[in-house]
């Protein structure tokens, strides 16, 4: 087994270990502090291992990685881990560590499930042989991680702000989109049915979310510093991710102009990244309004999470074509 694979496996195992330790720390009050510390230790081991895995893969491939889905998932996990560690340093959100560990361990499980062709280091196609890849891909993948983290924090805010029905339906909407994207990886379900399930399921869930939110709008938000903090963290994730997303889209345009002579070709993935950018631009404009409601903005952040998932994974798994097909599982 290569050093890179050993590091990846260590990262995967330590993410699962940290998840269990975070859960146990919540269950046993007396040893909570010790358990949380151990969970954090496992978390840091996971972060160090995934950093090492990326480094060793770079050395092994003798090129910058992130040329296929498996490699981008490693960076995606790294981005989420780094973001959580930074946010925890500033906002002290150790109680949400289990949620981040759950996300990261799911990413590692998904990555380990991918076919071996994805894990092998294969030669790059001519279009990808460029330094632009190192400039364009990392900010985008890290921004996806942050935006998804922002959406999850928004769901936690809705839960803590006593908008439980809305939080539930937001989680259900996210589950529907993840299940339909997951279905696309099986190669057994026709993409038409997957798309119907995705669009139909998401639309129905979003309508239910809207109705739930409407029914809960009049409820008072608990006067709790922690509640305000979750909203703050969600907003912070989005405001940090937004420049990264913008940078990723702009460098993508510059690369496209350098490679193909056009900076924008309305490729499905390009268009989808514009959709995500526009939705978060709207979010930031809404936040600038004086009378914007934090619960409405949290639902907006969850919609942004869905669009981010669709941009990152959905378009390859749900059978859309385009120039970015190298993210597909063949």
């Amino acid at each position: 087994m290569s050093l890179e694979m050993t590091m990846t496996n260590t990262a995967g195992i330590s993410s699962i270990l940290s998840l269990w330790l975070f859960i146990l720390s919540g269950m046993f009050g007396r040893v909570k502090t010790a358990m949380t510390r151990l969970a954090f230790l496992a978390f840091i081991i996971c972060f160090a291992s995934v950093s090492g895995a990326i480094l060793f893969r770079t050395m092994e491939a003798a090129r910058f990685p992130f040329a296929n889905l498996y490699e981008s998932l490693l960076l995606f996990a790294w981005g989420i881990l780094a973001a959580y560690l930074l946010l925890n340093g500033k906002y002290k959100i150790a109680n949400l560590g289990w949620l981040v560990s759950l996300m990261v361990s799911s990413i590692f499980l998904f990555a380990s499930w991918l076919p071996s062709t994805q894990k092998e280091i294969v030669p790059l196609m001519p279009a990808l042989v460029s330094n632009w890849r190192a400039i364009h891909v990392p900010p985008l993948i890290v921004s996806y991680g942050l935006l998804i983290l922002g959406g999850i924090m928004a769901m936690v805010y809705l839960w803590e702000a006593d908008r439980r029905k809305t939080a539930f339906s937001c989680a259900a909407t996210t589950a529907v989109s993840i299940i339909s994207a997951g279905g696309g990886t099986m190669h057994t379900i026709p993409s038409f049915y997957l798309q119907v399930f995705f669009w139909g399921g998401t639309a129905v869930c979003l309508i239910i979310t809207g109705l739930c939110l409407k029914s809960e709008l009049s409820k008072p938000v608990p006067e709790n510093k922690q509640v305000a903090l979750y909203d703050e963290v969600s907003q912070r994730c989005i405001t940090i991710a937004f420049p990264l997303l913008t940078f990723g889209i702009i460098t993508g345009a510059l690369w496209a102009n350098h490679a193909w002579g056009t900076y924008w070709a309305w490729d499905p993935k390009e268009s989808m990244s514009l959709v995500t950018w526009l939705s978060y631009a709207t979010y930031l404009h809404q936040r600038a309004r004086l009378n914007c409601r934090d619960d409405v903005m949290s639902v907006w952040a969850v919609v942004g999470l869905l669009l981010t998932l669709l941009t990152y994974l959905g378009f390859n798994f749900l059978g859309f074509g385009g120039l970015h097909a190298y993210g597909k599982i063949s």
Partner: protein, 457 residues
């Protein structure tokens, strides 16, 4: 929290006239949000539904059926990005942007560029968060608050009894930079569309093509230059495993009289530039197999199939000749497909120049021809577009800087006490800013409180 329409900057705006109502609607953030949401949904449709500009119509027909496709065509969803609906939406976004910049942002920028926009106690009391405390002394409290806020990382500006506590000052530049970036982007795109041109040509080695003859979008202003382009050479670099690593094309640009302007090489991700025109390696493929059948030259067009290129040629009514080539230098594999046999049968594998006898036919392999796809572009608006990218990037970076401003004023009352009014206008990171303002108000109250009248409900 009290929510009032008046903000410090709006307080400095001229009074609204009745006729200015529609301007206010056009400049409103609400309209921005509605237009951006509409644009998001339309772009989502364009991303999901394959567009006629990128997809073969037959594929659309297969996917949506005849009726479905006619409905989509009727709604303009198969060409969303060039549909009137989309273009009108983009136009409205820019109108909203222009009016908002002129009526809302310009006064704010002016106010920001002034030394400091201090507010009086009454103006502060109109802010969305405001609190009021009566204290005996003013000067000693000013100094205490001044020091305390400085320790928290705020810069403090004072003018008599008025104070502004500020943190993250560059945050306010986010909107002006982004708005300016979008205007510059629009200018760049319009210049490109009016004066630029582009096109694609397929060339074989030694072939020369005149620009006006090539398939090209002609510029709206000006005309295509009478240049000629020659493909001098074409090659492929491969990995050890045989997969393509890079494609190269040697090009020469000539003027109308055949004089050489420049020559150079282009490959994927490395365009060749001459006379303001950029040449890109957009495609590279084996286009045909050259055979000689009993002394008669024959060219079989190839199509890419898996990792190979394949061409089919009918030899007789019930007989097909199939030629398969992997690379330019690799041998050709020749198959015969007869009507009665289910699978084609390999009958020869020939290197270049080699012959094979299939009685009574003699087949000679003369090699494979290459076609190099070259895309060319003249784009005078590109530097402006790049400048807009820098501005948009700067605007997006400034968004992530939380900007906090807290106003304070100590006004002497008729009773000889001082009315300390503190307030803020929470927008970005409202919770944290309000918390800071509340802390400041609490500090004042704690210091020397005689009477507290909290305006916050």
């Amino acid at each position: 929290m009290k929510t009032l329409s008046s903000t410090p900057t709006q307080a400095q705006l001229p009074a609204k006239s009745a006729s200015g109502g529609w301007l206010e609607v056009l400049a409103s953030l609400r309209l921005t949000c509605i237009l951006l949401t509409a644009l998001t949904l339309l772009t989502l449709c364009g991303a999901w539904i394959p567009q006629t500009s990128q997809t073969d119509p037959s594929e659309l027909l297969e996917r949506f059926g005849k009726d479905g496709l006619s409905i989509l065509n009727f709604l303009g969803l198969t060409n969303v990005f060039y549909s009137p609906l989309y273009l009108v939406n983009v136009l409205l976004v820019f109108v909203n942007l222009a009016v908002c910049t002129a009526t809302r942002m310009a006064p704010r920028i002016r106010a920001r560029l002034q030394k400091a926009d201090f507010l009086s106690g009454d103006e502060i009391a109109c802010l969305p968060f405001a609190s009021c405390t009566f204290v005996k002394g003013a000067a000693e409290h000013s100094q205490l608050i001044h020091d305390k806020m400085r320790r928290q990382g705020f810069s403090v500006k004072t003018s008599g009894s008025k104070m502004i506590f500020e943190k993250g000052r560059i945050g306010w530049l986010a909107a002006p930079a982004t708005h300016l970036g979008l205007f510059v982007l629009l200018a760049g795109i319009l210049i490109s569309a009016a004066t630029g041109y582009n096109g694609s040509v397929d060339l074989t080695v030694g072939q020369t093509i005149d620009f006006p003859q090539a398939h090209s979008e002609k510029p709206r202003i000006g005309s295509l230059p009478h240049y000629r382009l020659t493909l001098d050479s074409s090659s492929r670099e491969s990995y050890k495993s045989g997969e393509p690593k890079q494609w190269y094309s040697g090009l020469t640009l000539l003027d109308h009289g055949g004089r050489k302007i420049a020559s150079g090489q282009t490959c994927v991700n490395s365009p060749f530039s001459a006379a303001g025109i950029d040449f890109y390696q957009s495609d590279w493929r084996l286009s045909s197999v050259k055979l000689t059948l009993d002394g008669n030259p024959l060219s079989i067009p190839l199509k890419s199939m898996g990792g190979d290129s394949m061409g089919v040629m009918p030899l007789a009514q019930d007989m097909l000749l199939i030629a398969v080539v992997h690379e330019r230098e690799s041998p050709v594999r020749l198959y015969l497909k007869l009507e009665e046999t289910p699978m084609p049968r390999l009958f020869a594998q020939l290197n270049k120049g080699q012959t094979f006898q299939v009685s009574p036919l003699t087949i000679k392999y003369d090699g494979a021809a290459i076609t190099s796809g070259i895309h060319y572009k003249y784009d005078p608006g590109l530097p402006i577009v790049y400048a807009s990218f820098i501005l948009l990037m700067a605007g997006a970076i400034f968004v992530s800087f939380p900007q906090y401003r807290i106003w304070a004023d100590a006004e002497q009352t008729a009773e000889g006490t001082y009315r300390w009014t503190t307030g803020c206008c929470p927008t970005k990171f409202s919770q944290l800013l309000t918390l800071q303002a509340k802390t400041l108000a609490a500090e004042l109250t704690k210091l020397n409180c005689e009477e507290v009248a909290a305006l916050e409900p």
